[in-house]
Point group: C2
Chain length 245, copies 2
DNA sequence: TCAAAAGTGTTCTTATTACACCCATGG
DNA sequence: CCATGGGTGTAATAAGAACACTTTTGA
């Protein structure tokens, strides 16, 4: 009979890609490591899962300890477990990503403020461990999710303008969108509440403010509605070579 | 300083949802457990990941030991890790799914043939551990994947008819499709090789045989082509109540 | 009065849907 | 000659893409 004890010598961690949106830019929260391995290099926030803790709970804990936020969008993405990914032994990590409103965010323990940074996703590279790969997997997932479910709103303040929403989509999808078509599409879904308010203190015509109507979305969902923004399709080629007489 | 040793007392397994397609029906390969816990109940094939083994390698190993097949479509889906999911201790499992051509499959060790079964996905329930939940997550992923990438062919013999392909999609998506529209769409992608052969020994007009053109697909991919079958959209409702004067 | 971003419709093109009959084969 | 599934096209509708000017505000 196999000695199962040999298998009970591993550990697992959760790593959390925390996305935020600010100044028209998609950002990720990173921590500078205080200890070896990878001391003084940046890494995704993460920690060991406690022996009596569910995976999702561990991811929530990591997020809350760092940001003070609860009830935040959080989803498991993928598990990374190559044999040599961690110098301390066999450690696999379950990657999560979360979406937070950067405006709601204040660093919790002032002591670590120094070592925590928002960084534009386009500038991040050279992270510790296999975190570049993890970030990339989570970003891919976000790209897919944002076209499939109305999660973009998690990254915006409660009240936002259509232009802000469009910029958010452009940042995530890394593409430009047509203003009129974007508005038409979003408004036709009938998921936004027009607050009948406008921006204040801007040096141009102030924009109307909207709010995501979560109740209506839940109701539409239950009626079989599916949120969908098309992928910008590059032309599917079409030329057929008939090879048979 | 934390005692990290406390964390190195866990184990992980891989579980593999192996899909096959036969007689117009989507099937899953299950094993009857020979030992406690859950003795004599059915479970997904899976096993502990060895200390020096990558996760993907473990999933491949489990698949190959059972089916003798290599170079098979295999993808990680999700990790399940509630604290009490395994009676032997803290064991999280990384779920994979694979797609195999059932016609290529012969059970490897005859000794275990008794305990291995293909079961229609619609009939499977009451699996060991949290395997019902795992199966359901993998099936959802397959539904998504089959509309997004040309993976259906992994489940069919090399040569197949368009009707077989349609039945496969219908089984996976759990819906009926229109014959003419389905054919038009599939053929317009120009990813099938018309073999200019027909079925033999059928008691009706024999159908043409086709083969998936993997090379062309790779080429199209690199040109930005994206495989896509639409979800059957239930009507998005549209009625707007204007709440503002 | 200028700069800056907000806001707004129409036309064209492409993709999706709905739908019914004749054909080829084996028994 | 009959039963069985194979194979085919068109018209209507819906969704997406392209595109430019006027409006409102603060400075």
């Amino acid at each position: 009979m196999t000695d199962f004890n040999e298998y009970f010598k591993s550990a697992f961690t959760v790593d959390n890609v925390i996305f935020g949106f600010d100044e028209g830019d998609l950002k990720v929260l990173l921590m500078k490591r205080g200890e070896e391995p990878y001391k003084d290099k940046f890494a995704l926030p993460g920690y060991f899962v406690n022996p009596n803790e569910d995976l999702d709970a561990a991811a929530k804990r990591v997020l809350e300890q760092l940001t003070g936020l609860r009830n935040v969008f959080l989803e498991q993405v993928k598990t990374f477990g190559t044999v040599d990914r961690h110098p301390a032994g066999r450690v696999i990590t379950i990657a999560y990503f979360s979406l937070i409103k950067i405006s709601h965010f204040t660093l919790q323990p002032a002591s670590i403020a120094e070592s925590v940074q928002w960084r534009s996703i386009s500038e991040v590279r050279g992270l510790s461990f296999d975190h570049d790969e993890i970030l990339s997997a989570c970003f891919d997932r976000l790209k897919w999710l944002v076209r499939t479910r109305p999660v973009g709103f998690e990254l915006l303040p409660r009240k936002f303008t259509l232009t802000e929403l469009q910029h958010l989509y452009e940042a995530i999808l890394e593409t430009k969108l047509d203003k009129r078509n974007f508005r038409k599409k979003i408004l036709s879904m009938d998921l936004l509440i027009d607050l009948d308010e406008t921006q204040e203190g801007v040096a141009h015509r102030p924009a109307r403010l909207y709010q995501f109507d979560r109740n209506k979305y839940e109701q539409f969902l239950s009626e079989g509605f599916s949120f969908e923004l098309k992928e910008n399709k590059k032309k599917n080629k079409k030329g057929k070579e008939e090879s048979v007489a």
